[in-house]
Amino acid sequence: MAEMNLLQAINNALDTAMAANDKVVCFGEDVGVFGGVFRATSHLQEKYGRDRCFNTPLVEQGIIGFANGLAAQGAVPVAEIQFADYIFPAFDQIVNETAKFRYRSGNLFDVGGLTIRTPYGGGIAGGHYHSQSPEAYFAHTPGLRVVVPRNPHQAKGLLLAAIRTPDPVLFLEPKRLYRAAVGEVPDEDYELPLGEAEITREGTDITLLAWGAQMEVLDRAAEIAEKEGISCEIIDLRSILPWDVETVTESVLKTGRLVISHEAPLTGGFAAEIAATIQSCCFLYLESPIARVTGLDTPFPLTLEKEYLPDHLKVFEAIKATIDY
């Protein structure tokens, strides 16, 4: 066990994966000598050579197109997109190609080896184009897995699982936590399950659900709520697609109340899917409407970022409103 921050845990996972399987190849803008603008790929080129860890030209559609082909060939590409805000030029390669590769070929060809890593989310004074949370765009795309870790331990285990699962994975890294989240991370090689949510705190009155950097917001809100005598059950969804309907349903059947939070805008965000599914699965057990605490239905601002973001106070207010409904 070593104390690591989230970036170090990711770097460690990549190192572990590359050491274990020489088909694992890491690339992206500035990923080579420099080790990535956040340094997630530090020292990998030194250790594994330029063939297995390298800079690409500045062209996201090319990076993912290349990665798709490489995965189809049998290699295990881990492509970095420098910021999730810059993943959209590759949207066609991801949505029309990555996600549909196996299906359209009747399983003759697949890109199951592919993992796309990209930092997402706000809270770092990144403004309009260094803050977006695009998970919902990909969650409407059957064939992809979408995974978000909440801390260093989760990051290593989920990333190793992502690299090794026979399905393509979009691995969204909460960049606000890159250096802020620190914790014990096992030295050994381990995987955490994809497609399974985790209950991080048990409670009885209300279920709080989120993923990634939003988990600590839930924790803070739950602390305040606890002081007012409200017992919160907290769930980290971890996999956005496919997602763990069962764990969430069971919790809501117990608590009768659900608050979901994400940074992305409200309309069409992934909380909508969860609310739609859970109102159906738990209809007779719901004591109050499922609440969503999210970003505004606007692009991401800079100066008033704090106002925009769904913080612990907004979540706490939603908890109260849900309890008092």
């Binding site: 190849v25 082909g69 190609e97």
Partner: protein, 403 residues
């Protein structure tokens, strides 16, 4: 490290646009089937030559028959390769069978050359239970793992950067193989094309980019697609080797591809080939070219038929005769018709193919969606004639492999 040449300095503004450079066209055969006087006779074995010719001829026959079938309403859609068989078969024949081909959609000749079975063609076209693609894509979206032919994907140009990546994997694997990717001059306008060439050039990848410049992208003529001297000069932007070849001269295409493959495999150098050809047929069964081009233009190109040109050459070699031609055509026509009839009758893919292959394993949610669909179909069997009759047979034979 300097990335520009020390080409010298000028002291007044000097603009270039590439017109200074001329890209010649490589040709061996004249339309009458004789070699150009200065051309060296290509080293060609009889067997290879006949295999190439037969693949071209088969493609022509298949296209004619299937277009007719589409017109009769037996097939939902079709795309012909007519006029471009030389480009496609000639290049394929120059490859190692282990080389990967990533094509656009008009490259059935490559499969024909590599030995794709007639039933395999038909099962895809009819999307029946034997289709490798399980009836999920429109006709002509063939794929073959054993023949190293990537399943066709409709979004244009997406396969081009994928070819760069695939070939990078081949380089890492060190097996001396390369990837050939084929695309139209229209698709070459997509951003993916440029990404692919630039990355291949920077990362030194063994990939051959083959552009079928057939003059049209549906109705859009090449001169509204680009303003340059074809596609070839784009290679200069990446310091990539490029060759322009007469795409209707199958011997020249073959030789150009062989040379390109050598550069790719031996030096890890990507190469661009621009094959000048013409789409003699409509874009697809949904298209009618009379709205955007003249009969006269088509006729002029019909005279340059690549199949006829090769046939004349074969005959001059004494390798082919009228009788053989007649026999070959008749046999192929008959076989195609028979295979079509059989494929039409085969049943549709099993219901479960709706949810398999989305992920490596069927997810619980998809298994539930399938189960719900199945009971719905049982309730209204008449409304779902493609699946209802087979539900129980699937059950009985244990056809399902998910869960």
């Amino acid at each position: 490290m300097s990335t520009t040449t020390a080409a010298g300095v000028v002291h007044e503004p000097t603009f270039l646009n590439g017109d200074e450079f001329h890209i010649p066209r490589f040709e061996l055969l004249r339309q009458d089937g004789t070699l150009h006087p200065q051309a060296a006779a290509p080293e060609f074995e009889r067997e290879t030559a006949l295999r190439i010719y037969r693949a071209m001829l088969f493609t022509r026959v298949l296209d004619e028959r299937m277009m007719a079938a589409q017109r009769q309403g037996r097939l939902s859609f079709y795309m012909q390769s007519t006029g471009e068989e030389g480009t496609v078969v000639g290049s394929t024949a120059a490859l190692d069978p282990g080389d990967m081909i990533m094509a656009q959609y008009r490259e059935q000749g490559a499969l024909a050359y590599r030995g794709f079975g007639l039933d395999e063609f038909m099962d895809q076209l009819f999307g029946n239970e034997h289709d490798h693609g399980k009836g999920r894509q429109m006709p002509i979206h063939y794929g073959s793992k054993t023949l190293n032919y990537l399943t066709i994907s409709s979004p244009l140009a997406t396969q081009i950067p994928q070819a760069t990546g695939y070939a990078y994997g081949q380089k890492l694997a060190g097996e001396g193989l390369c990837t050939l990717t084929v695309f139209g001059e229209g698709a070459a306008s997509e951003g993916d094309f440029h990404a692919a060439l630039n990355m291949a050039s920077v990362l030194q990848v063994p990939v051959v980019f083959l552009c079928r410049n057939n003059g049209y992208a549906i109705s859009t003529p090449a001169h509204e697609q680009f303003h340059a001297d074809g596609i070839a000069p784009r290679a200069f932007g990446y310091r990539m080797k490029v060759i322009r070849v007469d795409g209707n001269d199958v011997l020249a295409v073959h030789q150009a591809t062989r040379a390109a493959r050598k550069l790719a495999v031996e030096d890890n150098q990507p190469v661009l080939i621009e094959a000048m050809t013409y789409r003699l047929a409509a874009h697809s069964s949904s298209d009618d070219p009379s709205g955007y081009r003249s009969r006269k233009e088509e006729d002029a190109w019909r005279e340059k038929d690549p199949i006829l040109r090769m046939r004349r050459w074969l005959e001059a070699q004494g390798w082919w005769s009228d009788d053989e031609e007649k026999h070959e055509q008749e046999t192929r026509r008959r076989e195609v018709l028979e295979a079509m009839k059989a494929a039409e009758k085969r049943r549709p893919p099993a219901l479960e193919t709706l949810v398999t292959d989305v992920y490596a394993q069927v997810t619980p949610a998809l298994a539930e969606q399938l189960a719900a669909l199945e009971s719905h179909i049982r309730k209204y069997p008449d409304a779902y004639p493609k699946s209802a009759p087979y539900l129980d047979r699937d059950k009985a034979t244990g056809g399902r492999d998910h869960g």
